[in-house]
Amino acid sequence: MSLWVFVARRLLFSALVLLMVSMVVFVVVQVLPGDVASMILGTDATPEDVATMREKLGLNRPAHVRYLEWIAGAVQGDWGTSLRLNQPVAPLIMTRMGNSAVLAGLTLLVAVPLAIGLGVYAGLRRGRLPDRIIALVTLIGTSLPEFVWGNLLIIVFAFWFKWLPPSSLMDPGDPVFAQFKLLILPVATLTMVMLAYTSRMTRTSMIEVLEKNFIRTARLKGIGERQVILRHALPNALLPTITIVAMNIGWLMGSLVVVETVFSFPGLGRMMVFAVSNRDVPMLQMTVLVTAAIYCLANLLADVLYAYMNPRVRY
């Protein structure tokens, strides 16, 4: 199977998954609650209000028609109008997504190399002091939720040392990079959490590879430990890391929601919290769909990269 056939199959598969995702979103947001209009308006709404809302949302038509209209609109760029902000959803999402992407991108840039480095190092020093220290740090890293990390960092760096601002609130129009300082604490928080999973998995993968027979072959070939690690252990150990990083991107998206809340950062995550708390159905369903699509894309890229790097997948 050539790589292209693999990519084509994987693309088709992603498209199917996205289709399913859109159905799940639609069912959960619009069908599950029963009457969406009264859900949006709350219990003390008058029947007239509800009827107006139903009209506005087009709820009087059957669900499958609404679903198809929604999907058709989404594909054509008509992402609906926010109920609370009375603005089209698309530009809102785009700006916020840009902001979140900066945050996520910076985090990946810092966390992934660091995590892999730590994981590889811990794997090589298995059972010794550096491994134990890294294990302890990463255990604490995974075990403290983002909002605890974020608040701890705020206390230390914003209140005690007064080096950095405690919140990343900024004008919606400002470019994200304008105030680089605002990004440091959120990125640090996200890095703490990301670091833990990836480095632990990299360590495991490294240890597994080091136990393989072909490492013994390489060592007994007399090529020197450096070569054994660089040529034989690392390439095989880092392969599964690709998948792990992709999976982490899903977790990172959840973390963004929390971290953006902690730092009042104007990103997609906070918009989603806003949509949920305000029952802004059009905004909510689009935000979730977009996020899931990005996650799918990340997984797709990871799979293709994995196949490209791994000779055993190609044949």
Binding site: V5, F214, G222, I223, L239, R312
Partner: protein, 717 residues
């Protein structure tokens, strides 16, 4: 450690060309139960151009010995005494950097399990060239050229193409050739081979052994060859050492050791090995009673004393030293002379199994607790098992929505027909991937055949086991290959045996327990085992429980899928004898799946030889193992390494790769590799089934030399 002479052997003649000298080597492993003395006081030397074979069963310490010489013990392993001298330099005292210079260049190793020993994500050419670049000052271009030369030297077809492949794209034999090429890269003085052919098919093994023999002359390295297989050791070695419980118990020139067998363990090992000469009807295999001692708590005396048929009081008290019994031949036995005399006196008389292990106690009950007559053999006209034109195809599809990818049909079985009578043993023999296991699985109902019929005592057997009648399931049982997975690790032996008793014979509570105990006794295990978990049993014991479980239902037919292939030879002998004995008592039929020609020769009444999902020869065992042969049977037989250094090496070898079952060759499926191919007819026409005497059938175009063979109808059509 016992006070024995460190090196009882006189200095070797021409010691100047001694490449490796091991003296008094001991290795311990630290474990939670205390130190395991894996290698104890071993001394030997290997000269240039000489092969020293080390043979022993699992746990004897032979691999530890090999890795100790390589300086690569696992973390808990430690050399506790002795020296390892490579060309006069003590390897153990050598700095790490110097060791790295030697390793891979002057001291190289070939491993068991070639697939896992090669880096899956590097092209094999690079992996070989790497060794050259690490040890020799040569350019990448020169390294590449040398790699291709090496690939040619190990008889690799198209070296340039192979060099670009990844390990998973090569066959097992090719992978091992890569490892051999890698080991030979820098013209090593010392080559260590640790079970290099274990796990390979017998015809591939024969090719690798031929290759090793040829390379030995060309490279004149000293070789330390480790194997559990006495036949392989006999073939490759000049001198050998027999290891038991960490010690060399006998060592010397290969002919002298095999010929005189001056230690009871050596003699026992050779006698419990089935060979191509005899079947169980003529004599049963000798056994070595008991099992390897616990290496953390060694008895004070001879380590073989608890299992030795000639043991005396002195043996339990005092550890025997390695004494020289003949020039360059030593045995670790006080009574080696008596051992030799006893063996000579016994001559060729068939030894009686009961001499070594008590036979079933007199008056022991039959396993048939259920007195009602069995439904077997209703009429003589109906065979117990009749398989007709059985075909199993696997569809290997990687299509998605039928849009992308391809579909391949793998023909695991292609029109197999055979019959099996009550109380008969039919062996199905062939190499890995030939379909023999699929056949077994179809019959017991683990796999549904695509086409064809299976009749059991005249009743058609449908589909999977779950769809069959309880009575049919009772009458048709199975014994599995792997002792470590044949029993549920979370359930006691008693549970494993009581479940079929309850299901098929309605026994409950104490009655079921008594019956389970009875079954254990029948397979020579203590009733106390009922409460044990499988991990408290040895491999052979677990296999016995697996056999007891199959016999629990009073079956008429037991399908045995390679039941002894994972066992050591001494354990294998005991299981083979047990199977024979139970069959004689219970009048059960066996369908015996195996890759091992010697085992088949020993146990079978009739044999079917399978190649690429088709039967190429079937008949009584004496006929199949004697000419006229099917060319494939002949190749299989000539590939078997015989435990006799003087056995002539039969030169029939199969060329080329085994064709894919997804795309079998036209005409005769064997024509691509057949050494006796007669012409275009083999490629174009399906060969006829030629029937000889006693139901001996050979499916081949070659006209039978005997007039008794006459062309017949193809059985599968």
């Amino acid at each position: 450690m016992s006070a024995v002479i460190a090196s009882p052997l006189p200095p070797l003649p021409g010691a100047a060309d001694t490449v490796l000298q091991v003296a008094g080597l001991s290795v311990d492993y630290a474990t939670s139960r205390g130190p395991v003395h894996a290698v104890r006081d071993i001394s030997f030397a290997i000269r240039r151009g000489e092969t020293f074979g080390v043979v022993g069963e699992s746990g004897s310490g032979k691999s530890t010995l090999a890795f100790a010489v390589m300086g690569y013990l696992s973390e808990n392993g430690r050399v506790t005494g002795g020296r390892i001298d490579y060309q006069g330099q003590d390897l153990l005292a050598m700095p790490r950097a110097r060791q790295d210079e030697l390793r891979g260049a002057k001291i190289a190793m070939v491993y068991q399990d070639p697939m896992s020993s090669l880096n899956p994500s590097l092209q094999v050419g690079i992996q070989v060239a790497e060794a050259l670049l690490a040890h020799e000052r040569i350019s990448r271009e020169a390294a590449r050229a040398r790699t291709l030369e090496l690939f040619a030297a190990v008889n690799m077809p198209e070296p340039a193409a192979i060099a670009l492949r990844y390990p998973h794209q090569l066959s097992g034999g090719q992978q091992q050739r890569v490892l051999i090429a890698m080991a030979l890269a820098c013209n090593p003085d010392l080559l260590i081979m640790d079970e290099p052919t274990t796990g390979l098919d017998v015809t591939t093994e024969a090719q690798i052994l031929d290759l090793i023999a040829a390379l030995k002359h060309r490279f004149s390295s000293a070789i330390l060859y480790i194997s559990h297989n006495l036949g392989v050791i006999a073939r490759v070695s000049d001198r050998i050492g027999v290891m038991y419980a960490g010690q060399m118990i006998e060592q010397g020139p290969v002919r002298s050791v095999f010929g005189r067998q001056l230690h009871p363990y050596t003699a026992g090992l050779l006698e419990c090995l089935p060979n191509l000469e005899f079947g169980r009807k003529s004599r049963s295999l000798r056994l070595i009673r008991g099992m390897i001692p616990d290496l953390t708590r060694m008895p004070p005396g001879c380590s073989f004393e608890p299992r030795c048929p000639h043991a005396r009081e002195r043996c339990g008290r005092e550890a025997p030293p390695l004494v020289e019994v003949a020039p360059d031949h030593a045995s670790r036995c006080f009574f080696w002379q008596e051992q030799e005399q006893a063996r000579l006196a016994a001559g060729n008389l068939p030894p009686v199994a009961s001499q070594y292990e008590p036979a079933v106690p007199a008056g022991s009950t039959s396993l048939t607790l259920d007195p009602s007559p069995r439904g077997r053999g209703k009429s003589a006209a109906v065979s117990l098992l009749k398989v007709d034109a059985l075909t199993k195809e696997y569809v290997d599809s990687n299509k998605l929505l039928g849009l992308f990818g391809s579909e391949r049909v793998v023909h695991a079985l292609d029109g197999v027909s055979l019959t099996l009578e009550a109380n008969e043993t039919l062996a199905v023999v062939g190499e890995s991937g030939c379909g023999k296991t699929t056949l077994a699985r179809c019959i017991v109902g683990l796999v549904e055949p695509t086409r064809g019929t299976i009749e059991f005592d005249g009743i058609p057997l449908g589909g999977t086991a779950g769809e069959r009648d309880r009575e049919l399931r009772r009458r048709l049982q199975m014994v599995f290959q792997n002792p470590d997975s044949t029993l549920n690790p979370r359930r006691s032996i008693g549970d494993a045996l009581m479940r079929p008793l309850e299901m098929f014979r309605g026994l409950k509570g104490a009655t079921a327990r008594d019956a389970a105990g009875e079954l254990l006794r029948a397979v020579r295990l203590d009733e106390r085992y009922l409460d044990r978990l499988p991990n408290q049993l040895s491999g052979g014991e677990k296999q016995r429980v697996g056999i007891a479980r199959a016999f629990a239902t009073n079956p008429d037919l037991i399908v045995c899928d390679e039941p002894v292939s994972a066992l050591d030879v001494s354990v294998q002998a005991a299981i083979l004898n047990l199977l024979g004995e139970l069959q004689a008592r219970e009048r059960t039929a066996y369908l015996f799946i195996s890759h091992d020609m010697s085992v088949v020769r020993y146990l079978a009444d009739r044999v079917a030889v399978v190649y690429l999902g088709r039967i190429c020869e079937v008949g009584p065992v004496e006929r199949v193992f004697a000419p006229p042969y099917h060319p494939y049977t002949e190749a299989l037989l000539s590939a078997v390494p015989v435990p006799d250094p003087d056995a002539e090496v039969n030169p029939i070898r199969l060329e080329g790769p085994v064709p894919s079952a997804a795309n079998p060759p036209s005409g005769c499926v064997f024509h691509t590799r057949c050494p006796r191919k007669i012409g275009a007819i083999c490629e174009q026409q399906t060969p006829p089934a030629q029937t000889g005497t006693d139901g001996h059938v050979i499916v081949c175009h070659i006209p039978s030399p005997s007039s008794a063979m006459k062309a017949g109808r193809r059985p599968a059509s």
